[in-house]
Symmetry: C2
């Protein structure tokens, strides 16, 4: 494949946060006046509305003060920090984490995803990817010139678990996929895989000797009634075939520091470090110091953060449910909502542009997550509560304007 | 190529900064007692001895205070910052820089190098790479499954310019290379390409329609008597075929923030942004704020920094010249010294390990930069002046101990 062809598949025009680079439409199909209200950018969380973990700024300044030793860590991150984080992640996930050889600090979970796939996939290799799932998963495989085998999440057809089509997953393994990548909770749906689904994924991966990369970015932000099963602690597959990815950019609002971690199989982590050496050397040295605050938040802080998000979720879900023809499953974790809109007179991308231009509401098209999700829109509801509710009122008004 | 084979070529065991991950030797061949003295790690600069730019910490805190808008910039970096940096880089390099479409902020210059090559090289593509040159250049091409065509720097055979073998460069283009990557000043030699060499590189690239990526990381740290020619301002090749890379990690000691920039051809920058979207999303948002201090240092600050480094250079060069059988060219820019040692009874890697274990001196093996440089060692002399001189005395003593 030529490098030109490769990049044609890597479009970012509709990726979250890139909307400012789009030209404005002519507004030819515009109906009615603009809808007033505080603009809300649902493409990512608002770290001004939900502030970074207390103490993070101070931890950062401690890092700057440490000077050279903090600026130049090993490529995989500072050794003392890795030991500390490993202990906390072991407690959180319920299985040992080797801070010396089994953990790497990366520039965000995006960095961890790229390094994990880069360490596991060469040109022509087959990789099983869930649809819908985080949009970069597919793009990373395409950049590596791997071959994606999609596995459907039949989330609309079930009321428990995430709805992974396990027969399709097995077929992907049978067809030669030796890597399976998925996010849990699922991005964009916010659904948590059931204990039974995780057990079956582990059993299948074990049977076919596949490596599973699980993106658990949102696994701390669990709502009332949800239970979470860590694949790495299932005991049903070899720890040498699991890489877990997490980071403090979302629930903890530490996005501005660009920090993530990957942990698990030492052989894979070693390759990830080799790759990090040529991709970005290391996560920013001073930023790494902020990880000392992770899983060490003040008493009650995480409970309050979860409660605030659960309240926003409940209000937004109720409002979407009043839109005739709109369907959605209630997210069990994380801060994404993924409603499917009724049929409209505008194409999905035109409607999303109209939402932004006429109603000051930015959302991410469902097609970023799966080619089969053209009626879906993803909202990161980690926003100011009142502004988010008002913005969803405007979405409802826009749907009514352009209803087919 | 299997992913296993690919990673066998990406060893980082001897890469600068990774020495702590090596097991200690048995010390079987040890001669004499350990040599006392302040340990010096010449594998990278000492940002405690040469402190970050004044105001950088404050600029960072301003970024943190700006909150969400600073945490979530476009993937290519904040728009206002890009405009500001573009103007300064245009003034520095002597040719226009388009801050909107022709510049990207990256996680360090390492990030810029990876993105530039990732945007230009697909599996099987041929890439001309200088020997010796920065070790990651070769590794990035290997990761991308490109084919490297080496071009020798005959720096020992000339006293002016860097000594690029232009006939070899033309042969590489004739053999199908459409990308040429080089660092200027050269890493590890610290030599600056002459105006004539740059003109000939531009003319050749133009004739064959090749894109040139030039890593100018150290182009601000020029010593007395050196003149620097910016390829992008040569007027001898299309601006659409040049990407220039710089960053504030070295001369300015801002390494802990992980910042770099690439600027030039908008079509390539656009691809680099698409790649950044899946590799690390963006340079850490808060860190980006520190770029506001770049090329805006207090009056006289850069002159003092250069003078301090020139004084260290002169003392170390004089000391190396007293080692019988040691050769080196005096670096004209940057903070690397690349002496070639006389023949020793230990293998080069064993000698380097002995240096570290017996003399507390860490250097990087020449073979990281070229397979033909097994007698070379690279030192980053951005260190405490007195400690660096004493460390080179210990290197001299160790050479005498193990002289063949």
């Amino acid at each position: 494949m030529s490098v030109e062809d490769k990049f044609k598949r890597l479009a970012t025009d509709h990726a979250p946060g890139q909307e400012t680079r789009q030209a404005r439409s002519g507004g030819d199909c515009k109906i009615g006046d603009d809808l007033p209200g505080t603009p809300v950018d649902f493409s990512h969380g608002d770290v001004d509305a939900h502030e970074p973990t207390p103490g993070s700024r101070e931890a950062y300044l401690d890092g700057v003060a440490r000077g050279g030793s903090q600026a130049y860590t090993e490529y995989r991150g500072g050794a003392a920090l890795r030991a500390q984080v490993a202990e906390r992640l072991a407690a959180f996930t319920g299985a040992p984490v080797d801070g010396t050889d089994g953990l790497i600090v990366t520039p965000g979970t995006q960095g961890a995803l790229f390094l994990a796939l880069g360490a596991l996939v060469a040109a022509g290799d087959r990789v099983a990817i869930v649809q819908p799932d985080y949009f970069a998963n597919r793009k990373i495989v395409e950049f590596l010139e791997g071959r994606m085998i999609p596995v459907q999440l039949r989330y609309r057809e079930t009321e428990t678990g995430a709805g992974l089509d396990l027969a399709e997953l097995e077929a992907a393994f049978r067809d030669g996929a030796r890597v399976f990548l998925f996010s849990n909770p699922n991005n964009p749906c916010g659904l948590v895989y059931s204990a039974d689904e995780i057990a079956q994924i582990a059993a299948l991966a074990d049977r076919y000797g596949a490596t599973v990369v699980v993106d658990q970015l949102y696994s701390r932000l669990l709502y009332t009634g949800s239970t979470y099963t860590h694949l790495r602690a299932s005991g049903l597959m070899s720890p040498d075939n699991v890489i877990t990815i997490m980071g403090p950019s979302k629930t903890e609002s530490l996005s501005g520091y660009r920090l993530g971690v990957a942990f698990g199989a030492p052989a894979v982590i070693a390759r990830m470090e080799k790759l990090q050496a040529i991709v970005s050397l290391r996560a920013a040295g001073y930023s790494q110091a902020v990880l000392a605050t992770w899983f060490a938040e003040p008493e009650g802080w995480m409970d309050a953060r979860i409660a605030a998000h659960q309240a926003i979720r409940d209000d937004l879900v109720a409002r979407f449910r009043r839109i005739q023809g709109c369907t959605l499953r209630v997210p069990e974790a994380g801060s994404y909502l993924f409603p499917q809109l009724p049929e409209l007179t505008l194409s999905p991308l035109d409607f999303i542009r109209a939402l932004r231009e006429q109603a000051g509401v930015t959302v991410t098209p469902g097609t970023e997550f799966s080619p089969h999700e053209d009626r879906g829109i993803r909202l990161n509801f980690s926003q100011d509560h009142a502004a988010a509710v008002a913005a969803v009122e405007r979405i409802a008004a826009m749907v009514d304007r352009y209803r087919a």
